[in-house]
């Protein structure tokens, strides 16, 4: 990540100005100019079972945090300061999902199958099914259903050959086929990140789900019907959104 001296000076000047003014547009401009650093660090964590686009988004959060906390008066290079912040964010991301990469395959499969079962039962019953009802229909035990629900939180699995799980989004393609999309997704991720914090930083559909669930009080089934996706998918997206908001809030609140 070698920068020309002029670039470095320019960056320094901008950071100094940002520290003085707190100008959000300037902050976004600085983040935008350093996306390469975030992307570079995110790539060092690939092949660990998390899609690269998610990692880049996590790294961008770290970058934003670094820009906000950087103190030009201390004489550090920005990249020297930002790198541990970004890497810390990435490590935390993995640590929080640590158990997730060990979800057994049969649980993964049941989790995916449950999506259909929950949908069918909801339609048949005209309400959200109980857990024993799901277990009976899926011909598994209640404990297995609970385990599979918990697996939904780990919205990614370790094996890149495993079914991706985001059925509606990804058209049943295995995760491996999606890894190459990182670059095309980057611009969107970047835009999203730069615009505004917290909820606005989530993908549009996830913003919508958060809004409908927590601000309008719709149930997961109602949201699923409204958006034309499965209830399991709503559940997964909610879990993922909350985890992201949490990471972000933690980033803001943690001591510098």
């Amino acid at each position: 990540m070698a920068f020309e001296a002029t670039d470095r000076n320019e960056l320094r000047a901008k950071l100094e100005e940002y520290a003085r003014t707190g100008d959000k547009e300037l902050r976004d401009e600085i983040v935008g100019s350093q996306v390469g650093l975030a992307e570079y660090l995110a790539r060092r964590f690939k092949n660990r079972g998390e899609p690269i686009e998610d990692l880049i988004q996590v790294a961008l959060l770290g970058l934003l945090k670094a820009v906000e906390r950087f103190d030009p008066g201390r004489g550090l290079e920005f990249s020297t300061f930002a790198t541990p912040t970004i890497v810390g964010e990435l490590k935390r991301h993995f640590r929080d999902k640590g158990w997730a990469v060990r979800v057994p395959r049969r649980v993964q499969e049941l989790h995916l199958r449950m999506g259909t079962v929950v949908n069918t039962l909801s339609q048949e019953l005209g309400r959200s099914p109980t857990i024993p009802e799901i277990a009976q229909r899926a011909e598994v035990s209640v404990d297995e259903v609970l385990e599979a629900m918990e697996a939904g939180r780990a919205y990614r699995f370790s094996s890149i050959d495993a079914p991706a799980g985001d059925d509606e989004d990804r058209a049943q393609s295995p995760a491996a086929a999606q890894l190459g999309e990182a670059d095309s997704g980057l611009e969107e991720v970047e835009q999203r990140m730069l615009l505004s914090p917290l909820i606005d930083s989530l993908p549009k559909r996830e913003q919508m789900i958060i809004h409908l669930r927590f601000f309008r009080g719709m149930t997961q089934s109602e949201i699923a019907g409204r958006l034309g996706i499965s209830q399991m998918h709503v559940s997964r997206l909610l879990a993922r959104s909350l985890a992201q908001l949490r990471d972000r809030a933690g980033a803001d609140a943690a001591p510098g």
Partner: protein, 143 residues
């Protein structure tokens, strides 16, 4: 997991009539999985629907995570702290009460976090006394 059928039925009966389940875990985010699973297990025995079980899981996770804050992150040498939870089954509700021994007062709650809990459960509160944080949340079954 398939125990004697009679024994299981008796335990179910006990749950329905108000038996408590106690859980003590290290005060660290990694253990929230057990906190969620226990909540889901209780709720499913009480006939909560998938939606309601999901709500309860998210709520207890949100509340506990918030109370744990960033502990365990920077200071591995600190003495291990635990989180004690009691899951109480009512006729058509679950109440989860708990205690964490974290010092430094009640972590400040975000507006979003409050909003999430308001939407997901019927009651929730956090109180603190002498370095101990107490919390309680209650979810009613709809039908």
């Amino acid at each position: 997991m398939s125990g004697e059928q009679n024994g299981l039925d008796e335990r179910d009966e006990q749950l329905r009539t108000g038996g408590d389940v106690r859980l003590v875990v290290p005060a660290a985010a990694e253990y929230l999985r057990l906190v969620r699973l226990t909540a889901a297990g209780m709720a499913s025995r009480l006939g909560f629907t998938f939606d309601e079980v999901e709500d309860l899981r998210i709520a207890v996770d949100e509340l506990c995570f918030h109370l744990l804050g960033d502990v365990g992150d920077e200071d591995p040498s600190a003495e291990p702290r635990t989180m004690d939870l009691v899951y109480s089954a009512g006729a058509d509700s679950i109440t989860i009460t708990g205690r964490t021994g974290l010092s430094g007062g009640i972590p400040e709650s975000s507006e979003l976090s409050e909003q999430i809990l308001d939407a997901l459960v019927d009651e929730h509160e956090v109180t603190g006394t002498n370095g101990t944080i107490l919390f309680r949340l209650k979810k009613q079954r709809e039908s």
